[in-house]
Symmetry: D3
Subunit: 256 residues, 6 copies
Amino acid sequence: MIKRIMYIHPVRVTDPLFRDELLSFLRAEMDPDVEVEVTSLSRGPLHLRYRYYEALVLPDVLNRLKAAEDRGFHASIIGCFFDVGLQEARELLHRLAVVGPCQASVQIASTLCRRFSIIVGSGKGIPRIEENLRAYGAHHLLASFRAVDLPVLELHQNRADAVRRLREAGRAAVAQDGAEALILGCTATFGYWRELQAELGVPVIDPIIASFKWAELAAGLSERYQWLPGRIGAYEPPPESEMGAWGLLPADDLEP
Amino acid sequence: MIKRIMYIHPVRVTDPLFRDELLSFLRAEMDPDVEVEVTSLSRGPLHLRYRYYEALVLPDVLNRLKAAEDRGFHASIIGCFFDVGLQEARELLHRLAVVGPCQASVQIASTLCRRFSIIVGSGKGIPRIEENLRAYGAHHLLASFRAVDLPVLELHQNRADAVRRLREAGRAAVAQDGAEALILGCTATFGYWRELQAELGVPVIDPIIASFKWAELAAGLSERYQWLPGRIGAYEPPPESEMGAWGLLPADDLEP
Amino acid sequence: MIKRIMYIHPVRVTDPLFRDELLSFLRAEMDPDVEVEVTSLSRGPLHLRYRYYEALVLPDVLNRLKAAEDRGFHASIIGCFFDVGLQEARELLHRLAVVGPCQASVQIASTLCRRFSIIVGSGKGIPRIEENLRAYGAHHLLASFRAVDLPVLELHQNRADAVRRLREAGRAAVAQDGAEALILGCTATFGYWRELQAELGVPVIDPIIASFKWAELAAGLSERYQWLPGRIGAYEPPPESEMGAWGLLPADDLEP
Amino acid sequence: MIKRIMYIHPVRVTDPLFRDELLSFLRAEMDPDVEVEVTSLSRGPLHLRYRYYEALVLPDVLNRLKAAEDRGFHASIIGCFFDVGLQEARELLHRLAVVGPCQASVQIASTLCRRFSIIVGSGKGIPRIEENLRAYGAHHLLASFRAVDLPVLELHQNRADAVRRLREAGRAAVAQDGAEALILGCTATFGYWRELQAELGVPVIDPIIASFKWAELAAGLSERYQWLPGRIGAYEPPPESEMGAWGLLPADDLEP
Amino acid sequence: MIKRIMYIHPVRVTDPLFRDELLSFLRAEMDPDVEVEVTSLSRGPLHLRYRYYEALVLPDVLNRLKAAEDRGFHASIIGCFFDVGLQEARELLHRLAVVGPCQASVQIASTLCRRFSIIVGSGKGIPRIEENLRAYGAHHLLASFRAVDLPVLELHQNRADAVRRLREAGRAAVAQDGAEALILGCTATFGYWRELQAELGVPVIDPIIASFKWAELAAGLSERYQWLPGRIGAYEPPPESEMGAWGLLPADDLEP
Amino acid sequence: MIKRIMYIHPVRVTDPLFRDELLSFLRAEMDPDVEVEVTSLSRGPLHLRYRYYEALVLPDVLNRLKAAEDRGFHASIIGCFFDVGLQEARELLHRLAVVGPCQASVQIASTLCRRFSIIVGSGKGIPRIEENLRAYGAHHLLASFRAVDLPVLELHQNRADAVRRLREAGRAAVAQDGAEALILGCTATFGYWRELQAELGVPVIDPIIASFKWAELAAGLSERYQWLPGRIGAYEPPPESEMGAWGLLPADDLEP
């Protein structure tokens, strides 16, 4: 069986880095039985610093996920550390396993330490991620947040400067906050983990790798064991008939 | 000063009950210095049982709120007990106080008892409301959820049957779960509180009244004291310039 | 309907500021359909820094509230940020809505931000307020306490010095602790909020205004909807007959 | 060294059982180096079912404790499972160790099991005790409350009936709620533990014995090591000079 | 790269089912690039119902894990739902990823639902597992425990009876406790998940499969990214030199 | 009745200080009706900085406790602030009360303040103790940990240096962290409390004294009231017959 995995940027992407380089990056990391696609939205904001922007992209993201399900993908990653739409996707979809970089990173980190710090681009994202940590039950494992004060779109423009800031933040988290491992709290930092880990001497989790490897796992669990979200309670899905009658079918994609 | 309050159904409404009767209901309850409008969406689902439906209405709801702000309203109620879009609205808007029926009901109930139960239409909504309670810090005040197994759209169709079921659920919550007050966990039950309270002998909170009275309060706080959401941290708003450049301005209303 | 509201200082007051000026202050803030009285105890301590002092005033405060209820008041504010006697009053009283400055401030702040700091006169009050926050379910919203090291009775004596200290504490809370809004954690600071808010750029909650506006709301809820504390469980009231037989009737006021 | 321990009923006591029999009971249980006195209030309610009653007795209880300190007692027990005045006493007093039956029982029980149930006279007391458990950090050890629906004053009048009800409640707690030990949540049940423990086969904690033995321990810790409440922060005591100037000195006993 | 995985029964095993059949079971489930061994202790108890038994096997389990590390295994599963020795192993070992069935099952379940129930052999294990859930931050996701009252050693002896009991317990958890997914809380139930899931219509997590698939993931993370437990703080390992000097080296295996 | 108490070092002890001096120390502190023995292991590590070391000593510690029970001791102290084996011992033993220095210190401190700091030898122990605090329900009382960066074996070698470091850490905890009392978080610091308390002016809990006095209490509770761990649920003991059949009887002591 080939595991087909879709990586979705829940934003409009203009920088080819996040298309071509990311695709190469993922291909270098993936298992031999995997196929990967990278996609992004055709409209909307370039980043999700604001909840309003999240709200705007949410329908498009879910429709993209539905389309991926229809095309036979087995797993999908919503490529933002806020895990935007993760709960909604698990309710809506029937056969596609959906993975969030924050949840995947946190689950992996919780097997590597008892306290981790999350390095974020800016402080604005902290309450948003904190909300995720509480929902995931990981708040007691948080040593600290540390912000590097770089907008997400600049995190890849001057790689040397970004790595330098991340290193300083990470070093402070280890020395002062008791962090035993670090999570890079933004998908735009992909690839930076390696030199940070080498220099800091603690595990540094790359959220894209974490979510991609989780997606490989989830694709297998879903295919072999049908371990997909339960169809009652929180994830009871909307009925096709009602969606059809009301014109809400995701096929009804709002994107041009 | 006249307090102008907008009640927004975050759904498409077909039943005149939720337009005309609700407007009359609100006018009967409002303070003399208040003006009220009731509005609803022109497209989308008729209820919000599913998170996917919430996702679909979210941009339209926020844009409606932005339009209400531009028209000079002082406060607005998002008319669903899930408080859909409440966090996003508090980030986006600058002068409009936004109120959620769940938060308003819970805050009022927490001054009337140490344990309340929430009566919901169906069990599907329980994890959704529980999430709100945790965010609001009210989970330790919850005696129980009780579901009456009526779809939201039927809660007003057979009033006698609905009241009978709510009464049974409320009675069980008081007798078996230790509830000292009750909250009706669906805005479609407006008006039912009175006979339930008379029969059950404990306070029964109507979420529309609770949120409307909170909106009157919030309108005053906002006008007199500029006590509106802080502009840093969680509610730092998206900048107009960026939204303009990217074509995201709420004026860019997606509704026909 | 005229809403009659009683503001009770739960201490002996010697400074006319807290009588006449406070009354003028409240009259300037109140809605047109409100009447207000300010009262204080005729014996006991001048402040409530110590729990022992709280214990001493507690019977007198409750008896004063009972007297206010008997005189037909609709709502009452216990004028200390410790909310002294709030739970007891909600058990004892049948028709008078009782409001605490801490609970009212916290409920309003929780609609304006996801993290607030409380500025207190001295560190001694912090564990006392922290206890309230836990009971109210607001502890997860606390960014920090900051103390200005001024005794409560001096907070109004040198206004310029007090405001300067509060401003410094508030600025530190915003810059270092992640506060998105501030609460002034002492009723003796009434009126200071305005210049602090103007200078600091975040909402600054005045606990007297917050509680007074909540009292206006509560008076309406109680009159129109009988939303008063439930009579079972935590707030089951002591029976008149037993109190009479044992000579405990609040009419039995201990104050001279 | 003789350890002098004062047992204070924080109520007016009319039944000689709680004076003479209790004294005999304590003398039978006490260590050889202990002297004990039993006292009660000369005015006020006969029980503390209501928070208002607690408020009424609070000044008298604290003044009695102060008097006991002045007379050279080493430890004192406030004889009600609500631990009324415990925090206040620890702030006020300098040399007298004060023990609450609830805290003592819970601390002992937490060394005997991972889940206990508390058997109470009536459901009214449950929120009150729950508040204590949260403050003491014992809430996660609670299997359940079970109420026997007997007023506190009747718990000793028909001993056979009371024991029968307690046994039924305890048996249900063990069989249905997962209790591994039981606490009798009312000091009026003193002495009943023995036959309940024999019949139910799990530890049954008598709150008077628990608090008395804790008082013996605390008397020793205080005498030998000066391990008495810290004088800063939560338990910073009111200064004698201020109390004197304001006429608040506990010597100023309000009781006739 | 071949991923070498060691499944360790932390008990003495006499039933060939847990050797040969389990090995076949794992081979049927494993990825093509995996090699697996199943091993067990040569002394000690046959089950771990008691903490004392856990204490007895703990040194042997850790020494076995150390031996597996020395032999070049990449990941190991400690085959008991109590995750016995998991924290200790993560401190001790440097290159071997160690997986616990409870943590792996709970992490997978938390991506499939918002509330799960755990079906256990007997109630004795509940406080033990509850302790794990609190440490893992999953307690808020627990709908209930349900016990089938079968000793672990009988769970595979009468398969039809065991499945019947598990089905009844699972059905009750779904119908009465709000479970949206189920976890089989004992590794002795391996293989039963399939018919339970088919009949109950919710995901049923097999803890051996869950931990095995997690081990495959962890082996890859460890090999490719060196994402292994951090070497500071909670998982700072004991130094070889000190262990050597004191004769504590795991090579010093106590098993005959 | 003579209370016989066994103090067990859960390590191999080479320094006579911990044998002879500790015995003298305990004899000076004990009640007149007490007999005490101090013992230690005959093999294994000299300290328990690592969880692996804890795992190694655990069977020996439990077997020593079982032997103490068989010899008629009434209570025993496991002499390490990690309370190693405390839960296991309460399950295994039938007549011997077992006390942990951390639990005893925390219970006593919680009657002396609302916030305490724990001074530890090194930061490595912090997550270990934090785990205990969460289990005991004392985490909300923790002001801070402060580490003095001295290995446990050096804490008694240069007494002046150790006291100086403890004093600095304690002073910082009081001045900066809001500590109202201090706990010395290592049994190797016995005796230092006195000068620290005198200099710092807050209660300083010596964990050996705290646990020894708790053991005196527990010995009495167990002898007079049979208040020993419940025999169902978490502390249901392993049956002698099964242990005998499997050769697990603690008599089967592994120590030479």
